[in-house]
Symmetry: D2
Subunit: 413 residues, 4 copies
């Protein structure tokens, strides 16, 4: 029998080509509204300039796909040191906190490089032998999943830059980013019965190494909130002195509250009794029904404790998400406030049982970060729909506030 069109090599190549073009175009589309100067500045050591993201994702295809699979000599070998992020095995690296000093190459030169790499990759997809194809396909998919992560960072890092500008410019993202939330119903709870549930990536579809292997996990009777903590909840926490009361906070969190002077979530401001929030559309009135964004893990812990609830483990979160059934992530907003903010879990970022990193230099992709970070689940307004799945494990250090991060409560039953 003939294989189905989808598994047919020609169709697979065409599909990958289309996917590649779409994703790469989306990356540059996300720079809309950013000037050449905006794209060069680095808001803080944790964030990177837009131009750096554009170059780094291109470097990634050059060193992970073009050269190893296609034998294509690097198009810009002299730039590798500038745009290698953290791969010790791939040579020396420019110090991360000094990415904003890389005024050369220019944005224009980086964009030309992107096009040249895109052309070379298109040719490689066409020219690869059938023997090479599976590896090529997998590595391009990894490259695109990587690109998706940086698409989100382009927005969070630009926002971090504008947040530090006295004028708080608006990114003026014209395409709606699903932020609309509608009037919130009262909080309800989904209950899950205790049992042994399988979590982790379980299909042949692309996924990150850290999502596997799939494995069973014991879960008790618990309930998950049917929406993230929203502005109204957080206003109550603020109003009831939550940021002044150590009983809700971890020791590290309380130390940050005091040393950083936290009084409300990042970007919140109060003037004459009215609260505003700075986000992708500039400073706007606080929407009490929208999920709270830019929470650190410490704030998530504190507001959960204050609410008499707790954070879910990542196993609980994924079990709950699988109970919801398949979701069409391209049709956001989704039910239950999903896909608006990454949701902090109580789980530290650790390897799953029998976890094996990808081979070679890609071993550094995820494995070496599995200490000192917390897992987040779900997706944010800035996460591409196609790169969203219940097994996806995002992670950030517990103090991080500049990502699109919020929290959904859980309870023991």
């Amino acid at each position: 029998q003939t294989p189905s069109r989808l598994t047919d090599g020609v169709a697979q190549r065409a599909a990958l080509r289309r996917h590649y073009e779409t994703v790469r175009r989306e990356t540059t589309a996300r720079t809309e509204g950013l000037t050449v100067e905006d794209q060069g500045a680095q808001a803080m050591p944790d964030a990177s300039p837009t131009k750096w993201h554009l170059a780094h994702t291109t470097w990634f295809f050059e060193v992970v796909v073009l050269e190893p699979v296609g034998g294509v000599p690097p198009l810009r070998p002299g730039w590798h040191r500038l745009f290698n992020s953290y791969y010790e095995a791939l040579g020396p690296r420019h110090p991360r906190p000094e990415r904003g000093l890389l005024t050369r190459p220019s944005l224009a030169e980086v964009l030309v490089w992107r096009q040249e790499v895109d052309r070379a990759l298109m040719q490689l997809i066409d020219a690869a032998s059938d023997a090479e194809w599976p590896r090529l396909q997998q590595l391009v998919q990894i490259g695109l999943a990587h690109e998706a992560q940086h698409q989100e960072l382009i927005l969070t890092d630009a926002l971090a830059l504008f947040r530090r500008h006295p004028d708080e410019p608006a990114l003026r993202v014209s395409r709606p980013l699903h932020e609309a939330s509608g009037a919130a119903a009262p909080l309800a709870w989904h209950t899950i019965a205790a049992g042994t549930y399988c979590i982790g990536h379980q299909t042949d579809a692309p996924a990150f190494d850290n999502e596997g292997p799939p494995h069973a996990q014991l879960v008790g009777n618990f309930a998950m909130a049917d929406r993230p903590v929203n502005g109204r909840d957080m206003l109550s926490f603020v109003a009831e002195g939550g940021y002044q009361d150590p009983q809700w906070w971890s020791s590290d969190g309380w130390a940050l509250v005091q040393s950083e002077g936290w009084q409300a979530p990042l970007s919140w401001a109060e003037h004459a009794g009215q609260w505003t929030v700075f986000g992708l559309h500039g400073r706007v009135p606080l929407d009490p029904d929208a999920p709270v964004c830019h929470l650190s893990f410490h704030e998530a812990l504190a507001v959960a404790a204050w609410a008499g609830a707790r954070l879910p483990t990542e196993g609980e979160w994924e079990t709950w998400a699988r109970h919801l059934g398949p979701l069409d992530w391209s049709a956001r907003p989704l039910p239950h406030g999903l896909g608006q903010v990454w949701e902090w879990t109580r789980s530290s970022y650790e390897p799953y049982p029998r976890y094996r990193p990808w081979p070679g230099s890609l071993a550094e992709y995820n494995g070496k970060f599995m200490v000192g970070q917390q897992v987040l689940r779900g997706a944010s307004v800035a996460t591409p729909a196609w790169e969203t799945r219940p097994s996806y494990r995002n992670f950030f250090p517990p103090h991080a506030r500049w990502q699109f991060t919020g929290v959904r409560l859980a309870r023991d039953l």
Copy 2:
């Protein structure tokens, strides 16, 4: 029927009195070899002066037992602010990094205070009504478990002080601390079959809140080394360039290797091809058969990766320890190198399912530290035998090196 002697109130009180006296005496016994000046200095912000430990453990009985249970007015109310460690609910605190500046009260005054508190506690044990007894008993036991933790810190913190002295004085601990190891057999492995095992504290004996509730846990087929990583292993790691090769290290660990210039475990030094180690008995030749001590979690991870193994989770560790059957911790050295060094696990310090902190101010005892730390299991040479059990959860941040910390390898089967 009459109750057994052990459950009889009179006997219980006598037993607690004896236990209290023994433990408190052991605390001051541990200051042997330390001068008045040694006992006042603070090696670093993470460590505390001996005198501070002596006073803090006394303060603990004053505020946790004497006043709440016995209604005894504080004997030294003016010192509470100096010796409260981290209890927000118990009033203001002197900054931790400045404990070495507390030259007043003197060591002599602190020792007098200890005796007065001891006397008051003895009286309270005698005088407490039967109704008060259970609570008194529990709180005294908590106070003694707390004292046991500081007994260990007295040694690690004094060692940290002497490590920074150019002359590296020897603590000259006269009582052997079970460091003798004997010639090491080749590494063998204990295998544990996959299954659902219960971990956590399961009896009525005293334990910390963080050891419960007991709960089932899924474990795969795995093997545990029958001894910790020893000096010979670590020498190979050093000799094969382990401290120069990023492939073995987490990202944070590698950053520390470079910024701190780590080239070998803490306190190791090499001169003319001979390695020495600084420890409780001063600088002595490296014993290749003794468990490596003073490893950070990052070094534990690195040496495990280099050895082709991994760290156990805390669930695996406890499951393995329970398979060993009951151990007489008072008869150290124990088999399998147990009780010589705390053993880092791959598990972050998180609450067990349905964990509830102790009520009141003791809620701060453990719960607020459950972020950014790794669990260690077992016990070290400095841990009192009576305060050792398979469910015990020690924890430190991943960069900590000044504790008696080592590592036991595990493998998937």
Copy 3:
């Protein structure tokens, strides 16, 4: 009689207009070779982005001249906070270390602002009443002297940026900056006889407040080198272990040598026995005859001690310079290596006897910096010829290396 053309109001106004236009054009000419991105980045907290210099000098005319003299409302009031450097009396200021984050306004917008301010200033020069004229003239001259200082900083700060780029781009300044030095004659000494000499600004020509009042100063018999310390001298200092020997260094200087790892002057590098230097024209072979540049005061002190000489006081320097007679600074290179590098003196930056700061907000221009800095005399390749005079007092902290700074030796006779 009619006044001479030069003192005639009309001619004075024309002259000022011409001067203004020339200076302001020179400022933008100095951005030659810098991309939009280069002009936005901030090399380090001490340095500023080119764009910031372009805007700040424009802000200066707006707040110091246009508004106070001409009553012209600010053209960009919203930008004042961004481009006020350090004038407490002129309102709040964006934090200095964050100037590189000011991606808005764009370079293009700043250049438009410059033109609008230029037009307004031209109109004011024409329109000012005779009564207003003297004050207007003085303030414009101060604004231009200020602009001259920032012209120099545009080059030093861009160089500081490129120094931190792994590729060390060349500014490629096409116009020669008088760096040519010619073969150096052996060092000779100018002798000055002991006496009472007047130093300080003594004419009606424009000058900074810190150059006056002129006053007598006692000077002993001394000698001044007829050229600055050159590359050959410094190579000997390096070769003879000058950077490894504390005897030549001040206590603070030696601490910096160790903490910063100084082994040679900034921007020097050695490869296979050949020394190169990074400067305005990129990395070029070390010219042994050219004055050493980018020395800190500490290095100047050390090399002088090693040479058996000392630094001149600023009184000695000025006395010597006045003995040289009038110099045509527009015809560089000048004799005696003058005008190539600022020359550190042994004098701390202190007020002259009976010094009075300028009135109003300009009081902050110089007076508040008279602590913790050392005086430099002369001029560098980057100093405009018209803003050079024997009484000019430049100043920087003793650790500063990124300016065009060198040293000329003196000796007691």
Copy 4:
């Protein structure tokens, strides 16, 4: 003729012996009221423990006198590294900020060492040949002058320690330290006529190298206040918002006001409208007539500017002091509030014309600190009377507050 008894060798030796004994005894007398623990702690990196001062001054005699002159082998060679302060030429040094960690040797051991060194020195004074005598005499005098400096530091550093203790213990100095001031007359001014005056050490009496050579200096007509700025003056400065108004402050000073939160002089506190000051006798009511103490140079500059006056240069100060005629420093309190607080001058600490450091390792005594510091003149309550003279140059960095430092105003006439 026979020489007078005072210049006779035997008498000279007896006098030096008496002086030595008196000074050394005074040093330990200054530890009165300090416990063993007090004497071991280090208040901050700039300060040293009492025990360290006791040991360091002893080390000084060992390496500067006993060994070079008497050929006496070091009595405690193993301690040299611990108690060498900053002499690069005299071998490695324990890091200054870690002096509080030197719990070994004990205070008792240090005191024994002091006695042994004292005995050896007595013997050397007796045994030295006539040829050796002049050098021995000079070096012992330097050692005693050095001891005098540390006598003052023993008090300021102990005070710095107690200032950081929550209980603010009182040193309880029983011997009056001349703090009594009496009711202050209104401020009057001493006028000095312009002229050429000689400053610097001009006799054969012992003095520091930095006090010479004596040299002429031009001084304008000026006036000096007949008393230091007192508590009443400073209260007005505080009350009129002096600590909130940048116009009075240098740029560095204002930065400190903000970063350190300065609102009043160090150790001042206000409660219910009453001001108190923490000093040698504990916390006592502010004496409005007593000279203000613990001012930084920045505060001295600010209060002078606010008062419409200025600081004297060190040349002016010494000229004025010489006009006062000889003073009996042993009969304090002195007229004009002299000898109560060191008086900041406007002069940076620079070498006098033709200054030559002492030879050998003593070259490091003063010369290498002549950058970044301000000169203070006079003496404080803690300065021994015999080590007080008009040419004495004390120096500290402009931010230092923990010394007994105040200010006397000057004015141009």
